[in-house]
């Protein structure tokens, strides 16, 4: 099953199992079925519950908030995560503040296609987790596997807080795995997991970067005799501090890698966490790998050098191992 198919399956089951669920977004209905086809076939199977919206990200989100407060479990599809910046106000100031202000939960799910693809350019490739995760009240998750795409979407709808669900566009069609939801086990929504065990250093990643991290770990093992542990954050807000610190306690060295911009965000938060609470475990300073501090370039050659990849992680790990 492909990553995208797992999302579509989860959506179909959510619609079938829970009458409170509806999906609202641009171009998601009819034979078109969404810019990435996540909802293909769903509007026909569930008439009136998969609704095309105008290009109005702010009001789409406000509408979802109102529906959620009236008892529904709305799922909003933003065509690209980049455009959710238009909905920033409703997401952070409204959805994020409702529970604290009123004591009532606001269970909306914002599905955000994230991450870079060659030729996508500055406004179709962004990672929104840094700006979304700063505000109290929002949950921000970033599934990296087929199973997580399926289970975390279902868990996001079960969660009573507003959830930003980051779907990596490159993984939609490029990630495929054997997956049977009837037998697969899955951890809770906020739990980080160890994707690969290792002894010498920890690589923390999330979303598409997890695959660069596991590929780098394989190279480190085979070519350099370095045993790297890979921690997939899964949920970047809140952080599963326990799993991160437990891994660091085993390895003593840590790299935190992300496709996002370098200032702030989950990589900075994990670095701060290990400095504050894991200092005694550290055998070397924590290393952050993030995208370059420019808008995301259009040209494939520039794009390829804008964010960390397998080689960048391997290089950083070799330096770190020498420390």
């Amino acid at each position: 099953m492909k990553y995208l198919e797992a999302i579509r399956l989860a959506l179909a089951e959510l619609l079938a199992d829970d009458q409170r669920v509806f999906i609202y977004g641009q171009d998601i209905a009819g034979p078109f079925g969404g810019a990435f086809k996540a909802t293909k076939g769903l509007s026909e199977r569930f008439p009136g519950r998969v609704l095309n919206s105008p290009i109005s990200e702010d009001a789409m989100t406000g509408l979802a908030i109102g529906a959620a407060m009236d008892g529904m479990r709305p799922i909003v599809e933003y065509q690209f995560a980049d455009f959710a910046s238009v909905a920033f106000n409703q997401l952070v100031n409204h959805a994020g503040s409702i529970f604290y202000r009123t004591g009532r939960p606001c269970p909306i799910v914002a599905r955000l296609p994230v991450g870079g693809t060659p030729g996508g350019g500055p406004f179709h490739c962004q990672m929104p987790e840094t700006w979304l995760s700063n505000h109290p009240g929002l949950v921000v998750v970033a599934p990296a596997t087929v199973a997580d795409a399926y289970f975390m979407l279902k868990d996001a709808v079960a969660c009573r807080d507003p959830v930003a669900f980051l779907e990596h566009k490159y993984l939609y069609y490029h990630l495929e795995a054997e997956f049977d939801p009837r037998v697969a086990e899955h951890p809770g929504l906020g739990r980080a997991v160890v994707r690969r065990q290792g002894d010498d250093l920890t690589i923390v990643a999330y979303s598409g970067m997890v695959h660069h991290a596991t590929a780098a770990a394989a190279v480190l093992e085979s070519d350099h005799n370095i045993s790297a542990e890979v921690v997939d954050l899964r949920c970047v807000r809140p952080l599963d501090e326990e799993t991160i610190l437990a891994s660091l306690a085993r390895t003593g060295r840590i790299i935190i890698a992300s496709e996002g911009f370098p200032f702030g965000g989950p990589t900075a938060e994990v670095a701060a966490l290990v400095a504050e609470k894991g200092f005694a475990y550290l055998d070397a300073p924590p290393v952050r790998l993030a995208a370059r501090d420019t808008p995301i370039p259009f040209h494939p050659e520039l794009f390829a050098e804008h964010h960390p990849d397998d080689q960048a992680i391997v290089q950083a790990a070799l330096e770190l191992a020498k420390y």
């Binding site: 009458q19 509806f22 009136g48 519950r49 919206s53 105008p54 109005s56 702010d58 009001a59 789409m60 989100t61 406000g62 509408l63 979802a64 908030i65 109102g66 529906a67 959620a68 407060m69 009236d70 008892g71 529904m72 709305p74 238009v86 106000n89 409703q90 100031n93 409204h94 994020g96 503040s97 409702i98 529970f99 604290y100 202000r101 009123t102 004591g103 009532r104 939960p105 109290p136 009240g137 949950v139 289970f151 279902k154 868990d155 709808v157 079960a158 969660c159 009573r160 807080d161 899955h186 951890p187 809770g188 929504l189 906020g190 739990r191 949920c235 809140p238 599963d240």
Partner: protein, 331 residues
């Protein structure tokens, strides 16, 4: 003209709102209130006319100058006093204040400060009602969102109004064109001839009335609400009036020119005069309504004053409903 029982009901709501606003402003002057106090002086007719049209199951997203509408829809003076005084017992528990109060469960939405932002949530509630089959054709639950001439120019408002029109929801946008967006005059905030002209652009019905004339407000808002209930889609109601106070108690509104002031009367004074002249109420009845309003507001203030403030040490500092996200899983 509306029936006299409805007119008296509106008058009582307007008097209660004016009395409440004045008392809250006085509490501010007495240094009992954190932040500012915002009053709806001059907008009671329009706001109250909307509030008293609503019934349980409807939705109302009031804005800054909607005390009359809030009372009309059932907010209590105690909720006002508790929120303005920041009491733990109030609907916002000291976590939010002044006009940012409400109760989602009662269909009275607690506004955020960003103008235009409350229209889409009202539409979301109405869409939810449709999706769950709760709407009775021909007698729909309706939603009203308030806005002013300033807020009419936000992207949020335009987006929401367009969606309401596309979905043909029973939504009423209640616009108080009170001549000033804070201190900025209308000629610097919009260029169309009249805000009601935007109705045709949105594809909704448009209504215009004199916001200083309570009877006109009752008739116009009443017609708009009736049309929405009947399934005729969104309604845009624009009333011309003047904000007879500053933006908040911190603002003396000295920027309002005398010639503008002379063009607009006080809706409450004019309504009272008209009710007395027509023999609907006599002076004694009006005095009794005022006394009753003062009694209710004073009782609420006294009770709220005696109630506890929030305490930082015992505050539940959690912005998330799910405390332990590690264990959140679908069934």
């Amino acid at each position: 003209m509306s029936d006299n029982a409805e007119r008296i009901r509106l008058f009582k709501v307007m008097v209660l709102a004016r009395t409440c606003d004045d008392r809250m402003a006085k509490l501010k002057a007495q240094n009992e209130v954190a932040g500012s106090v915002f009053v709806g002086r001059g907008q009671e007719a329009l706001s109250g006319a909307a509030g008293i049209q609503l019934r349980p199951g409807d939705v109302f997203a009031p804005l800054i100058r909607d005390q009359a509408g809030r009372f009309g829809y059932g907010e209590t003076p105690l909720d006002v006093a508790r929120t303005v005084l920041g009491r733990r017992t109030g609907p916002m528990r000291g976590r939010d204040g002044n006009v940012h109060r409400g109760d989602w469960g009662a269909g009275l939405l607690p506004m955020i400060s960003h103008l235009g932002a409350m229209a889409a949530p009202v539409i979301g509630v109405l869409l939810s009602r449709r999706l769950t089959g709760k709407q009775k054709p021909g007698d729909l639950s309706v939603g009203i969102a308030s806005i002013g001439d300033g807020g009419m120019n936000t992207g949020a408002l335009h987006e929401a109004m367009n969606i309401a029109a596309v979905e043909r929801l029973p939504f009423i946008l209640l616009v108080a064109d009170n001549q000033f967006a804070y201190s900025t005059t209308s000629d610097r905030t919009y260029a169309c001839k009249h805000l009601v002209d935007r109705a045709i652009g949105y594809g909704v019905a448009g209504h215009r009335c004199d916001g200083t004339d309570a009877d006109a407000c009752l008739a116009t808002v009443g017609a708009a609400v009736a049309a929405a209930r009947a399934g005729k889609g969104p309604q845009l109601v624009v009333a011309d009036l003047l904000r007879l106070a500053g933006h908040g108690t911190h603002d003396d509104a000295s920027y309002v020119p005398e010639d503008v002031k002379s063009r607009f009367g006080d809706c409450l004074q004019m309504f009272e005069r008209s009710l007395i002249q027509q023999g609907v109420l006599d002076a004694a009845a009006v005095a009794a309504i005022r006394d009753e309003a003062r009694r209710q507001i004073e009782a609420a203030v006294e009770q709220a004053r005696a109630e506890p403030q929030p305490e930082a040490a015992t505050e539940d500092w959690s912005a998330r409903c799910e405390r332990d996200l590690v264990h959140v899983r679908s069934a």
